[in-house]
Symmetry: C2
Subunit: 278 residues, 2 copies
Amino acid sequence: MHIDEHSITDAVIRSFDGCDNPRLKQIMTSLVTHLHDFVRETRLTEAEWMEGIRFLTATGQKCNDTRQEFILLSDVLGVSMLTVALNQARSPGATEATVFGPFYTDDAPRLEQGADIAGDAPGEPMEVDVVVTAPDGSPIAGAQVDVWQADEEGLYDVQRATLGTRRRGRAAMKTDAEGRLRFRGVVPTAYPVPTDGPVGRMLVATGRHPWRPAHMHFMIRAEGYETLVTHLFREGDPYLDSDAVFGVRRSLVVKIPSSPKPVLSHTFVLDRLISDSA
Amino acid sequence: MHIDEHSITDAVIRSFDGCDNPRLKQIMTSLVTHLHDFVRETRLTEAEWMEGIRFLTATGQKCNDTRQEFILLSDVLGVSMLTVALNQARSPGATEATVFGPFYTDDAPRLEQGADIAGDAPGEPMEVDVVVTAPDGSPIAGAQVDVWQADEEGLYDVQRATLGTRRRGRAAMKTDAEGRLRFRGVVPTAYPVPTDGPVGRMLVATGRHPWRPAHMHFMIRAEGYETLVTHLFREGDPYLDSDAVFGVRRSLVVKIPSSPKPVLSHTFVLDRLISDSA
């Protein structure tokens, strides 16, 4: 029954002996082991522990219908991207995934080939010309392509109160018979993650900047293939080496030629579905 | 610039290079290392990650002026007790500390020697007779002793809405010239931690019970000594080996004889102040 700094970890792990969900038991055991190792390694003081309690509480209380501060915390600590990277079991040549981010909505306008998805969003017009293929290079016709992007001022539609529920800078479209999809958007620009909450204060306290390199989001779904959630990043962006959420993968950095006019071209290669995961 | 499951931990740690607070940098580096190890070791799925985000968010949102669900989470994962145990640098023979818990208030009635602190709280009356000494056994006169306890139904005053701000089962008292303090309370009984929130659901999901063995709380302060926050546990309680918050230390388990009437006796030995920590 005696608890001290050495015996306590085993005592907590033993408390899960009656757990009838083996996976949950495995996760809790690993979590407690690593959490205790962190506390022991840093010899956390009681004042620091209390600061941690306050930080986590404020993070939870910052969350609402349009703000998820715990996802942001996971993002800036690299936990989101690590989880994404671990869950990609992909064929050689398949497009790499990156973080989902907080700005996807499921009510994007359904638009046709050639559409201008920017609407009245400020920014330099950009042509987008992408192809979706299988690992063997064969085109995937009718793939569902969701696209979302910030405008020239670094804001998504959902971040502008004046727009209400009006959507711009995002669309749900489909590839044609050749697996191709062309549309117009605006040239992406770098923008900061939200910094008006506890996570922003943590970034300041640790000497970090909040910027994400310029990118456009894609989610691509097709029957028989793994859903791909990824970005295309703009080559030359000054934040490619220090993305606040650690989402940059070399294969996703794309040159956007500026003359005669900006064009973003890329081929996305979907993995064939190998499991029942969504 | 390339991030994958192997390179990401170093990338996140390097992001703290500009942190001008060495202790914060050390804590964040250790936290990220262990958090990533946990995710890699369990190969956390994206669905499990999302469940974690939801759990932490709900935990933060359960907190209010009278409820601290993150402290409860820390308690049931043994993190609170581990932190307490690490921060005790005590002389041989000094009384061991345990968790503070969520039920202390700073507005307890100031009562005199011999008082009945229970008031109208239900429970079997119990005499308490304690002495506070220095490590060399010399009595500490005028030590400030805060006591708080649950009633026979396992509830603290602050958990009973009908009491409003009225306090019972708690008091702030002082030792006499011989370092002695006598008062009356009720025999402590085991009680469950609050289970109507996310932490309660986690306990159920992991097959754990929420019970704490019967105890009385003490916080003892005296000039020139380390503040002692501890409990006395009732010998024979069925939950001594499975305290939901891992607070039991063998030296704090005390026999409460029931005849001719219940008496709780103990000698508390305070550590001399060795640092500027409170």
